[in-house]
């Protein structure tokens, strides 16, 4: 059993740009450069037109809770230390068919101490970023709309 939280491999040519942007605290979505369709998770070919040409489209990071889970121990040690925590599936404001999993974080950017009572389906959320290691920044979901948008 691993002691640390599992981290994504961030140097795959398929999705490297997503992680480079995340390190710069920008959320981008893989889009087809030929037909414009967004897709997530990233894959080599556009399922609509089969083009391999890709653009990484910046999005606002505004979203709504599509669903969520509240995993309870026993868990991997790194997540056991975090519990209680919530993982949210957020649907993007620009395209509600693009749904991304992320840890829920509170107004202090903290992922621990969050329970089901703090979250509801449909509730507004916005993107935040957790520096997980030197080369990995994980997008996460901050509860509530962005302060400027509120």
């Amino acid at each position: 059993m691993i002691e640390n939280a599992p981290l994504p491999f961030t140097d795959d040519p398929l999705d490297r740009d997503f992680w480079i942007n995340a390190r710069q605290r920008r959320l981008v979505v893989q889009s087809c450069a030929a037909c414009g369709e967004m897709r997530f998770p990233p894959r080599p070919m556009c399922p609509h037109c089969q083009s391999e040409n890709v653009a990484w489209q910046p999005v606002s990071g505004e979203a709504a809770v599509w669903s969520f889970a509240v995993p309870a121990p026993p868990l991997l040690p790194a997540f056991e230390a975090l519990a209680p925590y919530v993982t949210i599936i957020g649907a993007l404001a620009e395209n509600s068919g693009i749904r991304m999993a992320g840890l829920a974080v509170n107004a202090d950017g903290d992922a621990t101490g969050i329970t089901a009572a703090d979250i509801a389906i449909g509730q507004p959320i916005h993107i935040d970023f957790l520096d997980a290691s030197e080369d990995c920044t994980l997008p996460c979901w901050r509860i509530g709309p962005r302060a400027s948008a509120a």
């Binding site: 889970a69 995993p71 309870a72 993982t87 599936i89 749904r99």
Partner: protein, 381 residues
């Protein structure tokens, strides 16, 4: 054509337990030998082998231990709980097509020990599609199903008391099955509602057992099956299913995520079948997690979308209900072997020899995991 051309003529099971001393290899050999003895067929006649990609006992070891001769067909079916019906269906196709004559499918698994649990093997660096969910805290299959269940509750108003009926009805069936791990341990609604959460909204009793054991089946062509010692159970229809834009377990990304790959499987299964959902006497629906049973009831056409909670709450899954489901106790209360016990229970029901026998059962639907690429079989006697 596949329809009724092959039959299951032998079943074999080891004891089921939280801990068995024997290795997976030893258990596999015992289950296969028991299934061949049940069929009255010597190992030397086996010429087709089919298993799960997750199976860790290699086919060459199985064949040279049991003393099989020349084998002409080898197949594996993917994705754990999604694989069972595929493994049987592939074997049936090979036999119906005349490639082989006697087929064995098996699953041997020791999961009782904590160190064996799948999520304990999560890698520190995630390179595949799991990189979009595991670092974000969805570590275990139960977490992935919890997300879909909460969304389903939101869309259709399913309550925990309705969902409880899946676990309660299967626990009740287990009380009639001396082989069931949860025999002698009745479960009440209060106990269910008071149980600890594993991944909210799913509690302890919504999760399958972690257990050790092995199961095997023997298939032959229908003409030969008629001469065997056991009543043959015919494979009437088979399909696998993987919907457009499916993603394994974290199936959150298609246009309608609650319309699972089971819907794709069901449509193609019924298309091939003379037996419709209304003609099914008993069903064995894959139940690693309780909500998968409700999702499958809707996908296979036993009720409309969003109505499965009501169907269960009316007691329809129990003996005497319109569709008795997982009559051995299933993965929740008999044993968890990636759904293979659902297959042997289907055979027992159609032989008329089940512990909780559904009177006059002539047809049985068996399904594999709703949230993976999957499969289903319609069996008849």
């Amino acid at each position: 054509m596949l329809k009724d051309r092959t039959a299951i003529v032998g079943i074999g099971e080891t004891p089921f337990s939280k801990h068995l001393e024997a290795s997976e290899f030893q258990l596999a050999c015992r289950a296969i030998k028991a299934a061949l003895d049940d069929a009255g067929i010597p190992p030397s006649e086996v010429d087709a082998l089919s298993c799960y990609t997750y199976e860790e006992t290699p086919e060459f070891e199985i064949a040279r231990s049991l003393g099989m001769g020349d084998v002409h067909y080898l197949s594996q079916s993917p994705h754990g709980g999604g694989a069972g019906c595929g493994a049987v269906g592939h074997l049936a196709l090979a036999i119906a097509a005349g490639i082989a004559n006697v087929g064995v499918v098996w699953r041997s698994r020791k999961r009782g020990a904590r160190s064996k649990r799948l999520w304990a093997g999560v890698q520190s660096t995630v390179t595949d599609h799991w990189k979009w969910s595991r670092p974000q805290g969805l570590l275990r299959p139960v977490d992935e199903v919890a997300v879909l269940t909460r969304r389903y509750m939101h869309e259709y108003g399913l309550t925990r008391a309705q969902l409880a009926e899946v676990a309660l009805s299967m626990r009740a069936y287990a009380q009639g099955n001396p082989r069931a791990l949860m025999g002698g341990r009745a479960l009440s609604l209060d106990e269910y509602l008071g149980a600890r959460m594993i991944s909210d909204p799913l509690c302890l009793y919504d999760n399958c057992l972690e257990s050790d054991g092995a199961i095997a089946l023997v298939l032959v062509r229908a003409d030969r099956a008629a001469d065997g010692p056991q009543p043959p159970v015919h494979i009437h229809a088979f399909s696998q299913g993987m919907k457009a834009q499916h993603q394994l377990m974290t199936d959150y990304h298609s246009a309608d995520p609650l319309r699972s790959s089971s819907w794709s499987c069901a449509a193609n299964l019924w298309r091939q079948s003379d037996i419709g959902p209304g003609d099914i006497d008993v069903a064995q629906l894959y139940d690693a997690f309780a909500p998968l049973v409700l999702f499958s009831l809707e996908a296979y056409g036993f009720c409309e979308r969003g109505e499965a909670g009501d169907l269960a709450a009316r007691g329809e899954l129990r003996p005497g209900g319109s569709l008795p489901v997982n009559t051995s106790g299933g993965s929740l209360s008999e044993v968890y072997l990636h759904g293979m016990n659902l297959m042997t229970e289907a055979v027992k029901q159609l032989r008329g020899s089940a512990h909780t026998q559904i009177a006059g059962a002539k047809t049985c639907l068996v399904t594999s995991c709703d949230t993976t690429p999957n499969g289903a079989l319609i069996l008849r006697n």
